[in-house]
C-alpha cells in the first residue's frame, strides 16, 4: 500500500509538470504583452525594455521555462508582474477562500445527495422520487453563479439572513466563517449534489437488483438492514468515482460564484491575472487547482480500498 501511494504521488508530480509546461507555453501563445499592458500605451520603448529585462521577460523562451521550473522545484512561484508581491503569498491569501467554498459545497452537496438518492431509489416512481428528481434537475440545469444570485437575493436581500458579500477567515471563528461562505458554498454544492444524487439513485437501484440482495431477503433480513447493511456500501462505490471527478465542478463553480459574492478567491485571482497577462499568477493558480484535483484523485482511489474489499493496491497478498 505504501509503495502504491508513493507511486501515485510520483505520478501526480509528473501530471503537475505536464500541466505546468502546457500552461507555460499556452499562456505565452496568447497574443499581447504584459509589460505594455502594465505600462499603458503612452510608455516609451526604453521603459518597456528595462521593465522587461527586470522581469526576465527578455530572455529566450527556453531560458524562461528552465528558470520557472527551477523555481517550482523549490516551491517558488515567482513574483506577480502587475501586483508586485510574490505569487505564493497571493495564493496563500486566495486559496483558503476557494477551498472553503469548495469544502462547504462538498459537505452540503453530499449530505443532501446521499439521503435524497437513497430516498429516491427506495421510493422509486413515488412522490419523493419525483420531488428529488425535480430538484436535482433544477440543480443540474442552473449554473452555480445563477444559483448564487438567486440565493443572494432570497437569503441576503429579501430575508436578510446571511451576508452576501466578503469573506471572514476561519481564524476569526468557525461560525462567522461558515456564515460568510454558506451561500456561495450552497451555490456550488447544489449542482454538485444534483449529479451525485442521480448517481446514488441509479447505483442503488442497480444494487437492489443484484442476486445477493435476493439472498439477503431469502435469509430473512428485514428491509432497513438490507438497505443500509447490504446495499449501501456496494452502491457507494460508483458514487465515489463520480463525486471525485466532479470535484472539478466544485472548483469551476466557485470561480464565478466568488465574483457574485465579492470574494477575492482563486477564481477572481485567475480571471484578473489572465486579463492582466500576469503570467506567474495565472501559472500559480492553475498549478494549485491542478494539485487539488490530483490530490482528490489519490484520495478517491484510496477510498476504493475502504469501500470495496476486492480492491487492494500494490500487489499485496490478500
Amino acid at each position: 500500500m505504501k509503495a502504491y501511494i508513493a507511486k501515485r504521488i510520483a505520478y501526480g508530480i509528473f501530471v503537475m509538470w505536464l500541466v505546468a509546461t502546457v500552461v507555460f507555453f499556452g499562456l505565452r501563445a496568447i497574443p499581447g504583452d504584459p509589460v505594455r499592458t502594465m505600462l499603458g500605451p503612452e510608455a516609451t520603448d526604453d521603459a518597456v525594455q528595462s521593465l522587461r529585462a527586470e522581469l526576465g521577460l527578455d530572455q529566450p523562451m527556453h531560458v524562461q521555462y528552465i528558470d520557472w521550473m527551477t523555481d517550482l522545484a523549490m516551491f517558488e512561484f515567482g513574483r506577480s508582474i502587475t501586483k508586485g508581491g510574490p505569487v505564493s503569498s497571493l495564493l496563500a491569501d486566495a486559496a483558503p477562500m476557494t477551498l472553503s467554498i469548495g469544502l462547504i459545497g462538498l459537505v452540503f452537496g453530499m449530505s443532501i445527495a446521499i439521503p435524497a438518492g437513497i430516498l429516491s431509489a427506495t421510493r422509486k416512481y413515488e412522490v419523493e422520487d419525483y420531488a428529488a428528481t425535480f430538484i436535482s434537475f433544477m440543480g443540474l440545469s442552473m449554473p452555480a453563479f445563477f444559483i448564487g444570485i438567486l440565493l443572494a437575493v432570497v437569503f441576503g436581500v429579501w430575508i436578510d439572513l446571511l451576508p452576501i458579500f466578503g469573506y471572514v477567515s476561519i481564524t476569526e471563528g468557525f461560525f462567522p466563517w461558515l456564515e460568510s461562505l454558506l451561500l456561495p458554498g450552497i451555490a456550488v454544492g447544489l449542482p454538485y449534489g444534483a449529479i451525485v444524487m442521480r448517481m446514488m439513485r441509479s447505483s442503488l437501484l442497480e444494487v437492489m437488483n443484484e442476486p445477493y440482495m435476493k439472498t439477503a431477503r431469502a435469509k430473512g433480513v428485514n428491509g432497513r438492514v438490507r438497505l443500509y447493511k447490504h446495499a449501501a456500501q456496494n452502491a457507494l462505490i460508483p458514487v465515489v468515482t463520480i463525486a471525485g471527478i466532479q470535484t472539478a465542478l466544485l472548483l469551476a463553480g466557485s470561480v464565478t460564484v466568488e465574483i457574485v459574492f465579492g470574494i477575492q478567491g482563486l477564481g477572481q485571482l485567475l480571471v484578473d491575472s489572465i486579463l492582466d497577462k500576469d503570467y506567474p499568477v495565472t501559472q500559480g493558480v492553475i498549478l494549485v487547482v491542478a494539485g487539488i484535483l490530483v490530490f482528490t484523485n489519490i484520495v478517491v482511489d484510496l477510498l476504493y480500498t475502504v469501500l470495496d474489499p476486492r480492491i487492494r493496491y500494490g500487489g499485496e497478498q490478500t
Binding site: E210, P211, Y212, K214, T215, A216, R217, A218, K219, G220, V221, N222, R224, V225, Y228, K229, H230, Q233, N234, L307, D308, P309, R310, T318
Partner: protein, 343 residues
C-alpha cells in the same frame, strides 16, 4: 408425512404487454426429509413457483393460492414479518450463481453469522444499529453466532474454517462459494431447503461433490430438499420424486426411477430424448419449437403446439392428471389412465 403442501398456486406478472402467467394453478407436495425434483426448461416457471412459496416474488408479481401449508402453518396467510422469520430459518434457499449471490462487501463469516443470529436465540442484537456496527467495525469474534459460522463452514467441508471465516467471497472459488451459500442456508436448521439450480454455474466435478454434500446434509439434518433444475442428470443423481414443469404447469410427476424408465407425458419423453447419454451413442432428438410466450396463452395444453401427438382436443380441453402407475401421474389427454386409479 407432508411438510409442504401447495394447492392451486398461480403467479401472474402484470406487465404492459399483458398478464404473464408464470405459474398456472399448480399443486406441489414435499414430504419431510424427502428430495423432490422440479424439472423444466428455462422459463417454465420453476423458480417463480419456489419463490412464490416463500414470498420472494416482487412487484409486479401477484401470487394467489388456494392454500400453502408448511409444517401445519398457512404460509399464504402470514404477514411479511412472520414470513421473514421462516425464510432462512425453517425454509432456506440456495441460489444458482454463487459468484453473485454472496455480498462482495461483507465477510463470508459475517454473512453466515447474520443468518445464525436471525434464526437462533444467540442473545445478540439484530437491530439496525447493531448490524451496522458489525458491518463497519467487523463482526465480533467472541460471539455465539461467529463460532457457529465457523462450525457451519466446517460442516460443509471448507478447509481451515477459522481462517476462511474472515475472508471475503472473492477469495473463494465457485464451489467453495456455493458451500458458503449452503452453510448460510443451514444456519437456521431448515426443514425445507429450496435449491435453485445449485450446481448449474459450477464445474462438472464440483457439481457432483455439491450434490453429494446436499444429499448427506439432508440426511444429517433431516432436511427436505426441493431441487430446482433443468438438468435431468442432477435429478437422477439426487431426487426421490420428480415434478416436470412446462410453461407454468406441472405436467408429470413420478418417482425418479419410474420417470426415467417409463416417461409418459410427450414433453417428458422429448426431454429425455434430447438429453445426451455417454453410454449410448445415438442421435439427439430435440423437441421442436420453443417454450411459448406466457402472455395470455389461449389454448388448454400448453405443450400442444410442440407436441407430436397433439390433436384438436388438446387445444380445447384442460388436461387433468391421469394415473400412469403407482405414484405416477401425467397430464396428457393422449394417455389412457391406468385402471387402478390412484389420484
Amino acid at each position: 408425512m407432508s411438510l409442504l403442501t401447495v394447492k392451486g398456486l398461480t403467479t401472474e406478472f402484470h406487465t404492459r404487454r399483458g398478464v404473464v402467467t408464470a405459474v398456472d394453478d399448480v399443486d406441489l407436495t414435499v414430504n419431510r426429509g424427502e428430495l423432490v425434483g422440479l424439472v423444466g426448461e428455462s422459463g417454465s416457471g420453476k423458480t417463480v413457483l419456489a419463490e412464490s412459496v416463500v414470498g420472494l416474488v416482487e412487484e409486479p408479481g401477484v401470487v394467489t393460492a388456494d392454500s400453502i401449508v408448511f409444517d401445519g402453518q398457512r404460509l399464504d396467510q402470514l404477514t411479511e414479518s412472520e414470513m421473514r422469520t421462516l425464510r432462512g430459518g425453517k425454509i432456506a434457499m440456495v441460489f444458482q450463481d454463487p459468484m453473485t449471490s454472496l455480498n462482495p462487501t461483507i465477510s463470508t463469516g459475517e454473512q453466515i453469522a447474520e443468518a445464525v443470529r436471525l434464526h437462533n436465540d444467540t442473545g445478540e442484537s439484530i437491530s439496525l444499529p447493531a448490524e451496522l456496527k458489525r458491518k463497519i467495525f467487523g463482526a465480533a469474534k467472541d460471539t455465539e453466532s461467529w463460532r457457529r459460522a465457523i462450525e457451519l463452514l466446517e460442516e460443509v467441508g471448507i478447509p481451515e474454517p477459522s481462517v476462511r471465516v474472515t475472508e471475503y467471497p472473492h477469495e473463494f472459488s465457485g464451489g467453495m462459494r456455493q458451500r458458503v451459500m449452503i452453510s448460510m442456508a443451514l444456519a437456521g436448521e431448515p426443514d425445507l431447503l429450496i435449491a435453485d439450480e445449485p450446481t448449474t454455474a459450477l464445474d462438472v466435478t464440483v457439481q457432483a461433490q455439491i450434490l453429494e454434500d446436499l444429499k448427506s446434509l439432508s440426511q444429517e439434518f433431516d432436511t427436505a430438499i426441493l431441487m430446482i433444475t433443468h438438468d435431468l442428470a442432477v435429478v437422477a443423481e439426487t431426487c426421490d420424486r420428480v415434478n416436470v414443469m412446462y410453461a407454468g404447469n406441472i405436467i408429470e410427476r413420478a418417482p425418479a426411477d419410474e420417470l426415467f424408465a417409463n416417461p409418459q407425458h410427450p414433453y417428458t419423453q422429448g426431454l429425455l430424448a434430447s438429453t445426451p447419454r455417454a453410454n449410448k451413442r445415438r442421435k439427439l432428438d430435440p423437441i421442436p419449437g420453443n417454450v411459448p410466450d406466457l402472455t395470455n396463452i389461449s389454448y388448454a395444453c400448453h405443450f400442444a403446439p410442440r407436441c407430436p401427438e397433439s390433436t384438436a382436443e388438446c387445444y380445447d380441453v384442460e388436461p387433468e392428471f391421469r394415473s400412469m402407475g403407482p405414484d405416477h401421474v401425467a397430464a396428457c389427454l393422449q394417455r389412457d389412465p391406468e385402471v387402478s386409479d390412484r389420484e
